[in-house]
Subunit: 298 residues, 3 copies
């Protein structure tokens, strides 16, 4: 089995990943971690697009389960020598990894690669496609905090058109019974999507999930003056005051302080779950690696 | 002992590497691999020239034997700060690796480094010099497929002048008793080499080993129009029809589809050994690492 | 506890690191190294400034103690996406490393990061700040060679203004009782520092520690003609002849042969400790990693 998109997961698998993710979260807080269940297995991280946090997160997750981890980064790739993605996949497959984790700037690239691989493939972000492990870690973080996801009012705000994080989260959180509200600048909302104004989305919300806006888009697509994005589409203290009691702020990172979110909210000691998301990220990826290799070995 | 060139190996050592390579090939197909014979040893990969497949192949090979693997890539190197190669070698040596794997764009660089190191050095490709582990994995792939190398008609076709793969393969396959035929564009044949036309070389051949042509050379050295290289010097279906019954196609990769080889031949389900070569690559490198560390520890 | 500067270490801790460093030095010369005391711990190397030898040294040191090692390099960092250093630190901290090793081009960056991290932080070089593990390995090398540091005449020569190596060494060696002499081009001496002419500094010295001069500074700051730096400020055979009997040459590397040091002195079989410094580097870093994790686990 592969982990390419939220829809590729059964309800049971999602439940297992969230449960196990929470368990690994506690495990990682121990002073020593001596789990070796992936001993003798090779995890290959094929990152065709730069990433710090996602790559580190997968590397640490795989190490903590005792796997052998090998990372290939795009700038060293023979892609540059004109090799097709399919030929690269055949090459990687011939090295007999036990899991391939792939990030690629082209939507659908992980699925094309998975069609060739004999081992499970995890999509670690593909173009404007999906980023399923991010959605899973977000769901696990919400569930850990609130004890449930069903019935929560969750606002996802920002560049909905280009965000694979928004796409995967919308699919997963809706499936888990959340009351979803999408909001963003008009020019950054896909035509097929029902969206609202940010003030409407945030009102009474239990969770406000802000998306990163590409700085390049601020000027090009939005003709934005400095600070304008924050006041029009970002999460300010004023807007956050309109949320439900006990509401929390989330963000997949890295954050642009003062652009899509006010710095004081990002740093809020009890209302911000942003750092918690990163911690849950390692844990949920451990759960994913474990689930996928178990499905392969049994 | 070092593994710098084909001539640096005794007949016995070559036989051991091919035998052990085949054994590791089967081993790697197991669901778990728990060999730890290089536990406690440090393998340093010093890659002064970019490479995806060769670096990954060595990293995975070393990991599968339980070694500690550290990789240094050129763009992070103090070479750029004006350090001489010899001073870099002295530095690496002082860190007491148990094997140094080196790729370098200058022919002879691995030998210069080996003269300084106290540990075995493996040449993973040096300029237009040699690439002995590629030749060994090619020989192991051929032997696994045909059960022998002696007496086989093997055509090596392409840019013979700049190919270290061609050089190492010619030395090794001749030594193992193959009937070698070299072919390529006239301007890409070393003056000292006896070569023939590709049609002549391919006729009745058991193995056709196509070399990668640098796209830059197509225009610069050959004044080549698009598609012209394939029809004049590449492996087309028509040419392949002239080979012996049961003939196979090989290529060190990455391949330029439609340039030196027709895509349908590269993908041929029974006649193409190209993906098999990659798989054998990890296995043969495990054999090399094992042989060289054993020679050091005994 | 962190290892950010020489002053952050107690006398006892310095003594422990030097003692243990010498012990690991011998240990690393064994054919196999099977220490696993950091098994189950995660070491993250966050290098925001390129480095070959220091990064390799830390990676090998951590591997030799059985730790899981993950390396993040600047060019893949979300720093480029505009994330603040503090946010990067919060992200790294959330991944729950057991030690963070950081190199950064801004002085004080490791201290800012350490203020956020829950685990020990090692400064692997910060701007024109400090490089404490380099000073520790230098001290260990001197002590191993002479059996003591107290009372030795040690000349530190070169670009004192920009050298974090000089700064950390001056602090440490003075504290250990050495008779320190600093020398360098007038324009490269901090106004607060008492320095002398190189000929004066070298006369009767037991140790001459030459600093690397940035090639860019030669022209820009010094208006230096080729070879002029060596004759005016570098270590020539003539100058070395004025040192004490049994004097040794040191250099943190990478060296510029013929610029700050004559090649024949760098290579001197008995008087040069330059390669020994690199070897001691791995050993002293093992001691530091061990000390810091022990302080955390107990």
């Amino acid at each position: 089995m592969h982990l390419l998109s939220i829809d590729s997961l059964s309800d049971d698998q999602i439940a297992t990943i969230l449960d196990e993710g929470e368990r690994w979260f506690s495990y990682n807080r121990q002073p020593r971690r001596n789990d070796h269940r992936l001993d003798g297995l090779t995890i290959v991280n094929a990152f065709f697009e730069n990433s710090t946090r996602t790559l580190l997160s997968f590397e640490i997750a795989a190490n903590r389960l005792g796997a052998q981890v090998v990372t290939m980064q795009v700038e060293h790739s023979s892609i540059k020598k004109g090799e097709t993605l399919e030929d690269t996949a055949r090459t990687l497959n011939a090295m007999r990894p036990d899991i391939l984790v792939i990030r690629h700037s082209v939507s659908g690239a992980p699925a094309s690669v998975a069609a060739i691989m004999d081992c499970p493939v995890i999509n670690a972000g593909d173009g404007v496609g999906e980023h399923p492990t991010q959605a899973l870690l977000d769901a696990a973080t919400i569930r850990q905090h609130f004890g449930r996801i069903e019935g929560l009012k969750i606002a996802v705000c920002g560049d909905l058109k280009h965000s694979r994080v928004a796409r995967s989260n919308a699919l997963l959180l809706k499936r888990l019974g959340a009351d979803l509200r999408m909001a963003g600048p008009e020019s950054l909302i896909p035509s097929s999507m029902e969206a609202m104004q940010i003030d409407e989305a945030v009102e009474g919300a239990d969770v406000v999930m802000m998306l990163r806006v590409q700085r390049e888009r601020l000027e090009e697509d939005l003709g934005d003056a400095p600070g304008e994005y924050l006041s029009r589409y970002g999460l300010t203290e004023d807007r956050f005051a309109q949320t439900a009691e006990g509401a929390v702020v989330m963000h997949p990172g890295p954050i642009n302080r003062g652009v899509e979110i006010e710095g004081s909210l990002a740093d809020h000691p009890t209302r911000s779950l942003i750092v918690r998301q990163v911690e849950m990220g390692v844990a949920v990826r451990m759960a994913c690696l474990d689930l996928l290799t178990a499905s392969r070995l049994n």
